[in-house]
Symmetry: C2
Subunit: 784 residues, 2 copies
Amino acid sequence: MKTQPPTEKMATAAAFENLNTAGVEGAQDPESLTEPLLSHQRSRSSISNSTSQVALVGADIAENDFFKEDWRTRGRNQMIQYIFMKWSLCFLIGLIVGLIGFLNNLAVENIAGTKFVVTSNMMLANKFGMAFLSFSIPNLVLTLFASIVTATVAPVAAGSGIPEVKAYLNGVDAPGILSFRTLVIKIIGSISAVSSSLLVGKAGPMVHTGACVASLLGQGGSKKYGLTWKWLRFFKNDRDRRDFVTCGSAAGIAAAFRAPVGGLLFAIEEMASWWRSALLWRAFFTTAIVAILLRAFIDICKSGKCGLFGTGGLIMYDVYSADASYHLADVPLVLLLGVVGGILGSLYNFLLDKVLRIYNFINEKGIAPKIFLACTISILTSCLLFGLPWLASCRPCPSDASEACPTIGRSGNYKKFQCAPGYYNDLASLIFNTNDDAIRNLFSKDTDKEFQHSSMLIFFVTCFSLSVLSYGIVAPAGLFVPAIVTGASYGRFVGMLVGSHSNLNHGLYAVLGAASFLGGSMRMTVSLCVIILELTNNLLLLPMIMLVLLISKTVADAFNGNIYDLIMKAKGFPYLETHVEPYMRQLTVGDVVTAPLQLFHGIEKVGNVVHVLRTTRHNGFPVIDENPLSETPVLYGLILRAHLITLLKKKAFLPTPNPTVNDAFSQFSAVDFAKRGSGNGDKIEDIKLSEEEMEMYVDLHPFANASPYTVVETMSLAKALILFREVGLRHLLVIPKISNGSPVMGILTRHDFMPEHILALNPLLARSRWKRLRIRFPPSLKPF
Amino acid sequence: MKTQPPTEKMATAAAFENLNTAGVEGAQDPESLTEPLLSHQRSRSSISNSTSQVALVGADIAENDFFKEDWRTRGRNQMIQYIFMKWSLCFLIGLIVGLIGFLNNLAVENIAGTKFVVTSNMMLANKFGMAFLSFSIPNLVLTLFASIVTATVAPVAAGSGIPEVKAYLNGVDAPGILSFRTLVIKIIGSISAVSSSLLVGKAGPMVHTGACVASLLGQGGSKKYGLTWKWLRFFKNDRDRRDFVTCGSAAGIAAAFRAPVGGLLFAIEEMASWWRSALLWRAFFTTAIVAILLRAFIDICKSGKCGLFGTGGLIMYDVYSADASYHLADVPLVLLLGVVGGILGSLYNFLLDKVLRIYNFINEKGIAPKIFLACTISILTSCLLFGLPWLASCRPCPSDASEACPTIGRSGNYKKFQCAPGYYNDLASLIFNTNDDAIRNLFSKDTDKEFQHSSMLIFFVTCFSLSVLSYGIVAPAGLFVPAIVTGASYGRFVGMLVGSHSNLNHGLYAVLGAASFLGGSMRMTVSLCVIILELTNNLLLLPMIMLVLLISKTVADAFNGNIYDLIMKAKGFPYLETHVEPYMRQLTVGDVVTAPLQLFHGIEKVGNVVHVLRTTRHNGFPVIDENPLSETPVLYGLILRAHLITLLKKKAFLPTPNPTVNDAFSQFSAVDFAKRGSGNGDKIEDIKLSEEEMEMYVDLHPFANASPYTVVETMSLAKALILFREVGLRHLLVIPKISNGSPVMGILTRHDFMPEHILALNPLLARSRWKRLRIRFPPSLKPF
């Protein structure tokens, strides 16, 4: 008998630490999911084709004899090693993500900073044409770079990445979404896109980066690029990898906003589909590492060793004011702010969705149009940012300004722009600046008289439109920062309109405006609340922020869904929702199961297995046995495609259909059945078998999951969905109420629970769909 | 056909909004769970007796024909009404809990404040004997009052209540734990216990209060006291009530600490066993209401309308210091603080557990010994608080004191006590004060020279021992505030020892010490972190607090479990853990199912039903039917005891065993099968049937859940537990692999998954129990 090195045993042993495997399966499906929008209609129609089309999903726990045997050989030391490795990996994730986050900020601040300094110097010398060129050409070059690398090397790195990671954590694995290539492009692309003054954020890409780092570490590096570490390869199952990815996405937000608690809550509230208390603790550990690391770097940068970084620091709009006083009298105004913010947020989502659909037509045409689109947006942005401040009149510097006025260098509240000495351009202070500095200006207190109404309005409209237009280009682009800057300008504008009728200073209005717009667009509550608190470092604002978020989310929910869900839907991901549609209660699982079902016998002919694997795309097959007591066969278990392929590859065949002494355990090692890294699965097409071998038999018993989850055909779809969702299944066997003939009626997969599939089978039910009590415009009023 | 008023239909319709019913069943079991500790050993042995002994648990979703019919008649308006009611109730919970929290603080500050003012005046007049009496007699009277009302009216109101609520949310409903009586006693008792200078907290009782309020509102008031409101009675199912209780416990922490986000996280991390994103949002709404309400009250109190309240305010130890600077050099010290804090915290848990076991012997003897014990502790506390400051030497007032020195009135850092004018007693400033003021003193900055080493050490030891001794008395008593005060004194003592070797001021050490002690005792991470942040209003401390919490929790976890779990275990609650014990993977469900199983036929004789209900305590019974195709019967479904009793009560009988036209829907209304309020279930003993009726038949088909969750006998126990836990089941049917004879092998309930039960069946497995890699002392070293 072949002896196993302990680490390999451990690898699979890990799969059993907690059987709560609610998982994610590597996408073995050749059809790409990466085109951003096209697949929408396609998936609607194709989705009824059950297990075939979109990326593969879920992962049942493979509880077969083989794994059971493997489990029994585990020792206490392996357990300790496993736990130690788990925490070490979280530590590493925190460390690496924190480091990337810091370097990202450092690079952006230095690249964008240099650009602004050069341009400002030109402006000072009254060389306005040169100034425009020295502003717009670097912008164009940076955008070009970002879009070319994204479009050619890793198209999946475009956009925020949050929808993709969210879908992954729900069990939908788009190809290459967490690969090493995506990681590199995401980092580089995000730095150049943000530096190019496009109105895109860095938080979304940081989340995706964190998820990639976590996934790569979890699967032991990238096989494709030879970057693998044996000692990292303990985590060969979906649950562990999913946990790491959750920690990674929490670390991403923590690094982007220096908001460790906010990042953690973001992962709970928005990202994770399954959550456990133990995971909470591990994610907390990860974000704590990020927070401590960033704190250390800031200490270093404070001494001026980080170039143009340092003064700006990490995003942290410190608006602490000991006099953050407000009274009940301010509440109605805050409510109004929340209502309007909610409407604006849902309008933003609506427009973004439409723009993405339009862009999709362009992007479908190939790489060149994609890049052309990105360049167009870059030129438009440069023109607006440089051109609009000319509309604003110069204002005299206040005599009691707390800082130099006009500021000439890198940052500051009073940009000189084209104005004469002693004057400043308030619109330039906002618009001709990095987003971080603009937000800092908007959030700052004691600046109530600094901006004009018209400037603020222009700024708001510009931000709103540019962020809607910029997200869809083929480059890493986040939505958080654009939403904050748009919301802050909206809030500040409201504050200026209200003027002295309120006790709140305009900086607080900007914070509340940002909260309301974020709430209206992203529809998170706790996590946004804590992120804003951590950004602004003012806990006294808490009740107000909570109120605004609640109002704006409620209002916006009446119009449409959250922005990430809209994007996910547009991409056609089969995301499994938590809530149950009302019509699912009127259907039984028997109503949605689609024939024909492929079955295997306990001892099956090799040729038969090969044929079925080649002709279907199913990922799980019931295994049946003859019943010694009656004529109807009995269900033995469920076998996975991946395990069948391994069996075929190892050629563990029997010459006759009679089971011999079971020597399966000597022929296979646990690692053979372990979960592969993303996209590394073998394909049936790659397996070559001789005619003779095709006539042999294979004993499936030791490799089939002998106790799959089953439901009876009369169970309501809603109830089955709960089982499927809560336990995190990939296959759910449907058994007949009264067995006559086959012991299995069919297999339910994720696709069978998709509303599109069910409504295609039962079109009459569409009207009883759960619309979340949403406001519907009559067709005549429908915007477009 | 009887027409239903819409509200009644809605009530049950609510049960179906999301079938994810993971619930809690009213305890119909006569055996009380309320004795705090005795049941420990008892439950160990009795638990193998399956469904009989401890409180009833879980709730499967009753998906029978009857409910299905009811579901189909639901309209859109009912849906809107239901959603509106749900949010209104959350609003009400927030409002009431916030109000109670405020009144609680107001009462405590005024009662305890008056006591301290009177005593201080006596001390000023050098009447030390009188001063002692005017301090200790009110203390004794208040303790006496609290313990008498608790012991006689609602013994379950004793202690913190957090373990009970946590168990409820897991599915264990101890009798009367959320009743109106408990609520009243909890509020009154907590006010008097805290005012009596006992070292007990108010946060735990506030959580329990919040849970009671939520539960009573959710079930439409208290039937027993005639306080019911029809319009509130929409929520007749476990899931909705459980959600409200979760919101209520979040509101409790929010009200106690003015920490809305912390309260929410506490509910997620510590309390809830099932969690959904939608619930997050609703709990957030509830805590936001609390936060806004408290903010409004503070505005009112600031104008001095709240007596002795106002200056102290709600607990809020504002330690904001813009210079909260720290460097990497401080990290090793902080690590050490965390390690020692973790050890102290686990020692605290260990001692508390032992003391509770000793107290239990006293408390078992009856009401008088209970009250005597409480009085002894009160007198001991009074003596220590009044006596110990005499040990401290008087210190001269600092010339640059920011406030009057010595302070004479209500609060302040410099208590005069017995000292001469111009001098103050530092120990009295800490010990002869309310806990809130002591914590405020400890957390305050720029007071590094205020306390002596000896005073701080004495204070720490006193707090540690008194809080261990005080928790077990028969009065509402929380653990949070004692842990904070103990931890803060420990941290400050460490800070004083380190002295000028560190950049941190002593107030920050106190905060970190409190974090480490809380982390070591309660083992929460995120929620404690946020609660401490919200208490201290200093976000810059975040990375340090995270670090300390992680370290102390890790260290403490190596010794024992968290304090609430220890208490819950001592009370014998069958709490269903998330993690799976390793030996559960070696067992199949067939190994733990216990015979004999009671079955009913689809059409069953009434006498038979009555007999079975009278002779067993099972809560669910499989219903079987003849199979037209073979000799072995088939499983039809599962019927609940409560539904059988309703059937018997309504006497819906058939004269012959032939099904007639099904008129079940005309005889019953949805409300008949709706979930009753806690403890309101009918009992089989109350149903009287004539001889004739006993010979009739009852058709169980329309009332049985026709699609219960089933598992095959060969499934591993671990896998079945995941299904049971994640979907929140109450019964899980085990079906045989190859059916010969009965189609059901048995029913698994919560008790079958308890480690005690499994290990009793399979004693050899005990050694493979998952010990969480805990340090075990060799027997010779075992403390006691």
